[in-house]
């Protein structure tokens, strides 16, 4: 039976790649959202460039396959143009925390109502394994054969520092938990970040490590202080929704309940307004 949520395009992820878990979790989240009244016609996805981004070709959702590091910007443009859509931006640790980190920080700052899913495998996988912003110090990739000379970012701390109103972490192998987080993130009214610990079997096979270190967090932290502490834990990896708070989202603050696309004026209407301004 053809899977309606898949396009049928050949899947070229390495067998065992953590991206499969993410794909499955997203599919489940889409079904769950549909049950809760958010139809897939209103879902819109954007993706960067990288192994992670291939999810764009596989998932049968409308969207934009954007540039390396820019899915978060494209997603914000989509959302501002038509706030009726629910927008998911897929990105990688290289794309999202590297090339495009500014967009991520500002999306959090302005509480853009989009959901960002970061496939964090700690490596630039598609370009053959160079170190990424979340690679450990000492990581040996083709651009750092003598070992990564930088310490990794803690992306959760950065996102909290930037003002994110929904911050979660989950392991790609925990599909149930991950799909629950993704649907909650989509339903969150404002910016949501889902950091997914994603093993790259080829360049950074972290299944065991993550399996052993992940701790389920039942409730989001009550305060930002607590959230920062949770996020800064090093030995263990608290997973789940680490922080969630309500703040008016960007679109609402920018233009209230306007919908630029749905409210696109007739020509007459618009000319009337332009005329009024020109003749004033």
């Amino acid at each position: 039976m053809r899977d309606e949520l898949l396009t049928g395009a050949e899947n070229t992820w390495c067998p065992g790649c953590g991206n499969f878990g993410i794909l499955n979790a997203v599919k489940r989240a889409v079904s769950a959202l549909e049950e809760r009244g958010i139809g897939r016609d209103r879902l819109f996805m954007t993706a960067c460039i990288g192994c992670h981004a291939k999810i764009f070709d596989y998932l049968s959702l409308s969207g934009v396959y954007a540039l390396h590091g820019r899915s978060v910007s494209v997603a914000q443009g989509v959302k501002l143009a038509n706030p009726d859509l629910k927008v998911l931006a897929f990105t990688g640790d290289g794309a999202g925390y590297g090339e495009g980190i500014a967009h991520l920080l500002f999306a959090a700052k302005r509480n853009a109502d989009i959901t960002v899913i970061v496939h964090d495998n700690g490596v630039y996988a598609l370009t053959t394994g160079q170190r990424s912003p979340t690679s450990a110090a000492g990581f040996e990739g083709p651009s750092t054969p003598q070992g990564n000379e930088e310490d990794p970012f803690n992306p959760l701390v950065l996102m909290l520092a930037a003002g994110a109103t929904f911050v979660a972490r989950e392991f790609s192998a925990r599909i149930d938990e991950l799909s629950g987080i993704i649907s909650a993130a989509v339903e969150h009214d404002g910016f949501s970040l889902v950091e997914v610990l994603q093993p790259s079997v080829t360049y950074s096979n972290t299944y065991e490590e993550y399996g052993a270190a992940v701790d389920t967090v039942r409730e989001p932290a009550a305060t930002l202080d607590d959230a920062l502490k949770l996020a800064r834990q090093k030995e263990r990896l608290p997973s789940g929704i680490l922080y969630r708070v309500e703040r008016p989202s960007h679109g609402t603050r920018l233009y209230g309940d306007r919908n630029p696309v749905a409210g696109h004026p007739s020509r007459d209407k618009r000319l009337e307004r332009v005329n009024a301004l020109v003749s004033s």
Binding site: G39, S73, G77, L254, H264, R267
Partner: protein, 562 residues
């Protein structure tokens, strides 16, 4: 020739209200139906330095300021020194005699007068208006009512101060320059009582795009494009255009592509450095077939250059943005009216052909303020080819290369991509599909070119004399120079530059022509030689950041023509 134009020049420090004085003068002239051209010259700083505004006005159309002014008002010493040489024959210099000793002209103790009230420094610009009022023969009462309209804050002191300056000036040159009102312009856009409206090029661009159905403007400040952002932000509510100012030009361009994918008519704007940052997204728009209209307003480059001045050295840059083969549209307006029409036309065209476009202009058009009859009803309307029926494929391979559009929310999946893709928008690396998609986009480029054959792509003015080639804001300078010098010439101004309208220029092949442009290397002359086969007999360039001065240019043209 010259005599029919009256020119007013006011100079002082930034923050003293020089530009405001110029604007009020311009409004005064235009409200009587006169044609007006206002040019602001200012350095990149906020307070101090040296600013000046020149306003030229006539009962005929006037397409440039003149640097020979009938009335010069110098608010400070530096202005006196700089603008002494700008007093025309028969003209008058009104200067601040508190700071200039033994000046020539009409000395007025502006600082002393201003010091009678609080905030002396901020008030001094009012004297520019007061001096003008006296020189054109307005009564103190007329001046007072003008001040009432224009300087509302601390009104009484302003009226008293203005009155004192007026009295000083009136005594020596009162009524020296009486100005006749002009014929009333066509009704539609006329303000009040037979007056004319004034617009900057950037306002016209904003209005043109709005008239074509603009839903969203995304911009990051950069002179001289910033005022498109400011103008649309100021009129966000009355126009119904959403304005977004994000963190960088990269965000701007990518947000805009997202907005377009969601169905919003969108425009972005910046100057050279900011546009360079959008280049990756420009090529993305080429591949994704995103309708992305960019306003590129030039200032002297390279790099940060001279931010508040003018130049035309971004031509080859604008024509060749983005890696890979894809169709693109580049056009440059010659006047404020044309800026309005062209912005609308280009927004419509990028939506029909789903490809990026650049409206190339320069500080001189963007920021100069000119009387213009804007015919709102003539604006094009951006309306893409809509998808109908079943089985949607974003990149359907049609005869003309144009794939119908569908927008979310949608039951069918709509996929836009920066990768090479198949008709459904799924990534491909297959030889045949790559070729088919290249061909589709190239065919779309051919359709766009075909479409342009039905559009006015080249303006021509005059029917004999030497051929003068020019484009963009320099068109105004050339036209005014011809008036100023009483020179007959055939002016050819390509408005569209890519696709290059070679079909409109066949008669110029191997013809010799005078080229006038603002670039040190003669980029436009090279383009015309390479693409249209013209032989530039002489290339008149100016690249000190200042627009051409009509009489100087007339002389250069006269020299080149002989």
């Amino acid at each position: 020739m010259k005599a029919e134009v009256f020119t007013y020049l006011v100079g002082g420090k930034a923050g003293e209200g020089v530009k405001k004085a110029g604007t009020i003068a311009a409004n005064m002239f235009s409200s009587t139906g006169r044609h007006v051209f206002q040019m602001d010259d200012y350095p990149s700083l906020i307070r101090g330095g040296h600013n000046f505004t020149v306003v030229s006005t006539s009962t005929r159309e006037v397409l440039s300021h003149y640097m020979g002014a009938d009335l010069v008002v110098a608010l400070d010493e530096r202005s006196y020194g700089i603008h002494r040489s700008h007093v025309a024959d028969g003209g008058v210099m009104v200067y601040n005699s508190d700071v200039v000793k033994d000046g020539e002209g009409v000395g007025v103790p502006m600082t002393t007068e201003a010091a009678k009230y609080p905030d002396a420094g901020l008030r001094i610009g009012v004297s520019g208006v007061a001096a003008l009022s006296a020189a054109i023969g307005q009564s103190p009462a007329e001046l007072a009512s003008l001040i009432e309209r224009e300087y509302k804050r601390d009104l009484e002191n302003n009226i008293a101060f203005a009155g004192a300056i007026h009295e000083h000036v009136r005594r020596s040159v009162g009524g020296r320059f009486p100005l006749t009102p002009s014929a009333a312009p066509p009704g539609a856009t006329a303000p009040g009582n037979g007056g004319r409206h004034m617009f900057t090029g950037n306002q016209a661009i904003a209005l043109g795009a709005a008239a074509a159905g603009l839903d969203m403007y995304v911009g990051y400040p950069m002179t001289p494009a910033s005022t498109v952002l400011h103008y649309l932000a100021a009129h966000e509510v009355d126009l119904g255009v959403t304005v977004v100012h994000p963190e960088s030009e990269i965000a701007v361009a990518n947000m805009a592509i997202g907005a377009a994918a969601a169905g919003a008519r969108v425009m972005v704007g910046t100057s050279g450095g900011g546009f360079a940052l959008m280049e990756e997204a420009f090529s993305f728009a080429g591949m994704a077939e995103a309708p992305l209209l960019c306003v590129l307003s030039s200032r002297p480059g390279p790099s940060t250059g001279v931010p508040t001045y003018t130049e035309q050295a971004d031509l080859r840059f604008a024509l060749n943005q983005g890696h890979g083969d894809f169709p693109r549209l580049v056009a440059s307006p010659g006047t404020v009216q044309e800026a309005f029409t062209l912005a609308a036309e280009m927004l419509a065209m990028v939506w029909t052909y789903q490809t990026p476009g650049i409206l190339l202009t320069e500080k001189h058009l963007s920021e100069s303020r000119v009387t213009a009859d804007i015919d709102v009803g003539s604006a094009a309307w951006a309306e893409p080819v809509p998808h109908k029926g079943e089985g949607y494929h974003r990149y359907r391979d049609t005869d003309d290369g144009v794939s119908p559009l569908l927008f979310p929310p949608s039951a069918e999946s709509i996929k836009w991509s920066s990768y090479e893709h198949d008709e459904a928008g799924i990534t491909t690396e297959e030889s045949d599909t790559i070729v088919a998609m290249h061909d589709k986009r190239d065919r779309k480029g051919a359709s766009l070119k075909q479409h342009l054959r039905g559009v006015r792509t080249v303006n021509r003015f005059g029917d004999d004399g030497p051929v003068i080639l020019t484009y963009g804001s320099t068109t105004m300078s050339v036209m005014e120079a011809l008036s100023a010098g009483g020179i007959g010439a055939r002016v050819v101004q390509p408005v569209y530059l890519e696709p290059f309208p070679v079909w409109e220029l066949e008669d110029l092949r191997d013809e010799s022509a005078i080229v006038v442009e603002q670039s040190s290397t003669g980029q436009f002359a090279t383009l015309m030689a390479e693409r249209a086969g013209v032989r530039p007999s002489s290339v008149i360039t100016r690249y000190d950041g200042r627009p051409f001065e009509p009489r100087e240019l007339a002389e250069a043209i006269g020299g080149a023509a002989t």
